[in-house]
């Protein structure tokens, strides 16, 4: 049969970001997908040469706007470990609170986009309506909606007052109520299931072999969550990774949906365990010569930072490996054999964050 070649992207209605896939089709069935990346490559790792290690926080927050807080946490943890700085317990817990708020807003954003990918616009609007409440919390507590910029080396620069804590608790109660009301639609609705169940199945072995990360991996039945390493304040918080076993688009969306509810619980736990104390310690000098490897759990999966310092205020090398980069090979494995109409759903189900991937 003759092969048709269809370009998907870089500008495509379903994608908020540019990625290009060359799809080879036989009839309606995809037989091969060839990715082309680099549309968002800026080369920001190289900025470590001209910005000092404090200013680099500002840069790493802009690796990706959606999970900016967690990038900054990962970077500051690395530098703090290298310089042997012990940060105050209150700062650790505050980082957990803002990280989990970021995870909630990222997952709600994705759930909306995913609903839009299969044409359920009303659900898209509902999820984004709920998300605005979390953006309000970010804005009220830090001054910015998306890139919150609360991390500094040695702690955080903003605090939560008792009034704000009461307000946050009442807001996330509302978020929990609203999100739970949509549970039946995203998990059990007939037309939603028709578009997601059995589409893009990634088996447990494949997910592990190909090095999938985050909800993609947990959706295939591997219980791996970097937060279980107990970095920062997570050592004092009690939770289990959320796992689904089906490995299809439905499982991946269900993992993310349940993680929103889990994050609400984690914010509550972190607030209940929030100790009194300072926000940050004073940092003197430059990072000593040496290298460090840190990893954290982003909304999209495991994020790894490699930092090499040479004793000056500039870093020798900063290397960032992001979860979407790890999730592209599994995506290319599940695309062949699917129908053309399912391509947007499968591509979105990995939660592609191209600006993370290409930096």
């Amino acid at each position: 049969m003759a092969t048709t070649i269809i370009p998907f992207g870089p500008q495509h209605p379903v994608l908020p970001e540019p990625i290009h896939l060359t799809l080879k089709l036989e009839d309606e069935i995809v037989i091969e997908a060839i990715p082309a990346l680099g549309y968002v490559h800026r080369g920001l790792e190289k900025l470590a040469d001209i910005r000092d290690y404090h200013q680099m926080i500002y840069v790493v927050e802009r690796v990706c706007g959606i999970c900016s807080m967690i990038h900054a946490v990962c970077y500051s943890q690395g530098i703090e470990e290298l310089m042997e700085i012990e940060i105050p317990k209150r700062a650790e817990m505050l980082r957990v609170i803002w990280s989990e708020l970021h995870r909630m807003h990222s997952h709600l954003l994705w759930l909306g986009l995913f609903a839009d990918a299969f044409g359920f616009e009303a659900l898209f609007m509902q999820f984004w309506k709920i998300r605005e409440r979390i953006m309000d919390i970010n804005e009220a507590t830090t001054g910015s909606r998306v890139i919150v910029s609360v991390n500094v080396i040695g702690g955080v620069r903003a605090d939560l007052s008792p009034d704000q804590i009461r307000w946050i608790l009442s807001e996330i109660d509302g978020v929990e109520k609203d999100v739970s009301a949509l549970q039946d639609t995203i998990m059990n609705d007939y037309s939603v299931k028709h578009r997601t169940v059995g589409i893009g199945v990634l088996t447990k072995e494949q997910a592990y072999e190909l090095g999938a990360a985050g909800p993609m991996l947990r959706g295939s039945g591997v219980a791996q969550d970097m937060r279980m390493l107990g970095y920062g304040g997570y050592s004092e918080i009690d939770f289990e990774p959320i796992v689904e076993t089906a490995g299809d688009c439905w499982a991946r969306s269900t993992v993310r949906f349940r993680e929103v509810l889990q994050s609400i619980d984690l914010v509550r736990q972190a607030i209940s365990k929030l100790p009194e104390g300072d926000l940050a310690v004073k940092v003197k000098g430059n990072p000593p010569e040496g290298e460090i490897y840190t990893r954290v759990e982003q909304p999209r999966g495991e994020c790894v930072y490699y930092i090499r310092a040479n004793g000056t205020k500039h870093l020798d090398r900063l290397r960032i490996r992001t979860p979407t980069f790890a999730n592209i090979p599994p995506m290319l494995t599940v695309l062949p054999g699917c129908e053309l109409a399912d391509v947007p759903v499968i591509v979105l189900s990995i939660d592609p964050c191209i600006s993370c991937t290409e930096r």
């Binding site: 309506k129 998306v146 890139i147």
Partner: protein
Amino acid sequence: MFGSFIKKSRAKSPWIIHFDCGSCNGCDIEVLACLTPLYDIERFGIINVGNPKHADVLLVTGTVNHRNKKVLKNIYDQMSEPKAVIAIGACGNTGGVFRECYNVVGGIDKVIPVDVYVPGCPAKPEAIIDGVVVGLGKFAQKVEEAK
């Protein structure tokens, strides 16, 4: 009579297309937030479309780099006249925090003419809506001049 009808509806109900040109996503999700219930720019008759041939206004976020400058130019060229371009965020205006990166050419205006610059890193939805409203004024002027 038909011509004046088209002229009026063009400025009253502009269709926008959004292109992410190497931004960090911060501005993109704020552009999308404009479409959702809290801000809801559809009340101004604005609809987000995916096809450049249908669009009147181009919203661009992020810096231009050596790989996507051709894509940006291509999308701009595919839009039919009259058209307006709105650059969103510090990166779109000047290159912002990434201006010194090796792969970055600079702001959007290095490649295509820009009508409105919206500042912010990331630009807030209120600022984007304000920018779109200013852009619509310029767009209406262009529609007027086109005939």
